[in-house]
Each structure stands twice: as C-alpha cells, then as structure tokens.
C-alpha cells in the first residue's frame, strides 16, 4: 500500500487500519534507523515502540505538506536524538562521557554481528558531533539520498554534504589512530 492510500484510508476514518499499514510498511526500516543511533537491540526496541506511539498520537495533526515517509522518519530521528540527549545527561551525572557509554553498549550488545573493523567503525561514529553523526548514519548505513535527508532534517543539501565529508574525514583519522 502506498503512502497516499494510507492517508486516504486514515481520512476515511479507518484509523487503526491505516496505522497497521504504516507499521507493516515502516517498522523494520525504522528499527534499523534507530538501531544505528542507539547501538543496542533492547534500546532500539523500546525506542521503536515510543516512536510508533508518537506516530499514532500525531496522526491527527498530519497535514500532508510533507510525504508520510518523511514525516515518520522525522519523528523517529527526533526521538532517537532525544533518547541520546537523555543518555548524555545520565552519563554526565555518572561522570562518564556519552561516547564511552555507547562504546560499552556496542561491546556488550549480544546482537552485534559485525567484525572487528565494523566494531571500530561503530565506535568511531559515536565520537562524532550530533549533526555529523546523524548525517553519516543516514547516508552510510541507510544509503539515503541527500534530498531525502534534507527533507527529514530540514537542512540544505550543501550543508549535509559538508557535514558528511567532515564526518568521513574524522572517522578516517580516528580509525587510523586506532590501527597505528
């Protein structure tokens, strides 16, 4: 079912059916999206439920000025970033750094399936500033076009390309530091 059909279904009053179609269409994709941010299956699972609760709650306010996909992705990205902000506060109160906390989650995640190089890459990504990390994840892991990322993050494509390039260089330097 396409986005337009889902919206039409919702406006005709079939709210639950429309929501279930959204879940069927986007749940897996959103899972991988937030998993890249939170580094832990359990946290991604919790966050995904929060996201869909918010999607259900916000559906009445969806005006259709953006694509449904973009709108849902925006909610998911904001929730993931809010989650990371909370993690940062908790880490600060425990006198730790956020990147340290996330590195620990990567090491302790039972569902991490990568090799050592991918582990190092995941850790290097955690050290990036928020914006660069977000753009890099969406571009590298999800292969999203800059146009799509621009609609989700409401940032110009030029700025996104610059952020990605800087992130790429920083990760390269970080990996070089580790391997040397």
């Amino acid at each position: 079912m396409s986005d337009q059909e889902i919206i039409r279904l919702y406006r005709e009053g079939y709210h639950e059916r429309a929501f279930n179609e959204i879940v069927k269409l986007y749940s897996e994709r959103l899972y991988w999206h937030v998993r890249s941010f939170v580094c832990s299956h359990d946290d991604a699972d919790d966050l995904l439920q929060e996201i869909f609760i918010k999607v259900w709650a916000s559906l009445p306010t969806f005006r259709g000025d953006a694509q449904l996909f973009t709108w849902i992705y925006r909610i998911a990205t904001n929730e993931a970033l809010n989650y990371l902000h909370k993690q940062k506060i908790r880490a600060t109160l425990s006198l730790e750094s956020l990147s340290g906390v996330m590195e620990k989650k990567i090491d302790e995640d039972a569902y991490f399936n990568g090799n050592e190089a991918q582990r190092m890459l995941s850790k290097a990504i955690r050290k990036l500033p928020e914006k660069q990390r977000t753009v890099f994840i969406m571009r590298y892991y999800e292969n999203m076009k800059y146009e799509e990322i621009s609609e989700v993050l409401k940032t110009s494509e030029g700025s996104l390309k610059a952020s990605y390039h800087i992130a790429f260089e920083k990760i390269k330097a970080e990996l070089k530091k580790i391997t040397d």
Binding site: V23, H41, Q49, F52, A57, K86, F112, N115, N143
Partner: protein, 154 residues
C-alpha cells in the same frame, strides 16, 4: 523512496522472528488506553484537547531532566552546607559564660589595654622622648631645628 538494500552494512542482527512479533505488538497501540503522563492519549480525549496536552507534555518532558539536575544540585548544596555547619562548629562564643571563658584567649577589647590606659603601646602614638631621640639620631642640628620651628610659626 529508497529501499534498505545495504542492510548487510549494518553490523547488527535481531532475534529470530523479531519483526513479525514486532508488528503484532505495535498493532496494539491504538487499542491501548494509557495515562497522559508520557504524552499518550486516553480514549476519552478529543483530538483538539490532545494536541494542546501533547505540546505541554512534550515541553515538560523536554525540560524535566534539567529541572531534575537543578534540584539535585540544590539539594546537594543544602546538605553540604548543613554538614559543614555541624562539623566545623561555632568559633564565636555565645552567652555570658562563653564570653567569660574565652576572655583571656580572645580579648573583646583593645588588645593593648593590658599595658594600661596611658601607655604608648595602648595609644599607639609617639611620645616626646621618641621625637627627641629621633632628632638626635638623625643628626639634625639645633639651628636647623630652630629655623624650622621659626618658619612654621610665621
């Protein structure tokens, strides 16, 4: 719309059957009626009242961690001040008894009063003897001294 065709790039896996069960779990969201504490709507609320409440709840959710942090600091300062106050104790004597007890140790009057009221040490000023001894020691002649006194008086 792009498909996830680079999923092999993700160094993560999921438990078996996770996504099938996930859809079942998420499909219960519309049916559930929970409290609005976490921005969730109850079945009796209207859309309009919900939107306002969602914005207010989101604002509170956003600032709750900072309020909690500020409150924690305030509590820490209060507790710390209380502990410091109790452990350092009082340095100033209170009451007549303490004043009498500490009188010899911390004089409440001029410390030089022990030398007597007319003592130079008590008054902390030069005496005539001091001035004369200085003039003699400085080598000032009587003529110089007399001339200076003459100028001062005219």
């Amino acid at each position: 719309m792009t498909e996830i065709d680079n999923i092999n790039k993700f160094p993560f896996k999921v438990p078996d059957g996770y996504f099938e069960k996930l859809q079942d779990r998420l499909s219960h969201i519309p049916k559930e009626s929970v409290s609005s504490d976490h921005g969730r709507i109850s079945a009796t609320e209207t859309e309009e009242s919900f939107i306002g409440k969602e914005m207010a709840t989101s604002f509170w959710q956003k600032f709750r961690p900072y309020v909690a942090l500020a409150a924690s600091f305030a509590i820490a300062v209060v507790i710390g001040s209380y502990i410091l106050d109790k452990t350092l104790g009082k340095t100033k004597p209170e009451g007549t008894y303490e004043n009498m007890m500490y009188a010899d140790i911390v004089p409440v009057t001029d410390p030089y009063s022990i030398y007597g009221e007319n003592s130079a040490y008590a008054k902390n000023e030069l005496t005539q003897d001091d001035l004369e001894n200085y003039i003699i020691a400085s080598g000032t002649t009587v003529e110089q001294f007399e001339n200076t006194a003459y100028e001062d008086n005219h």
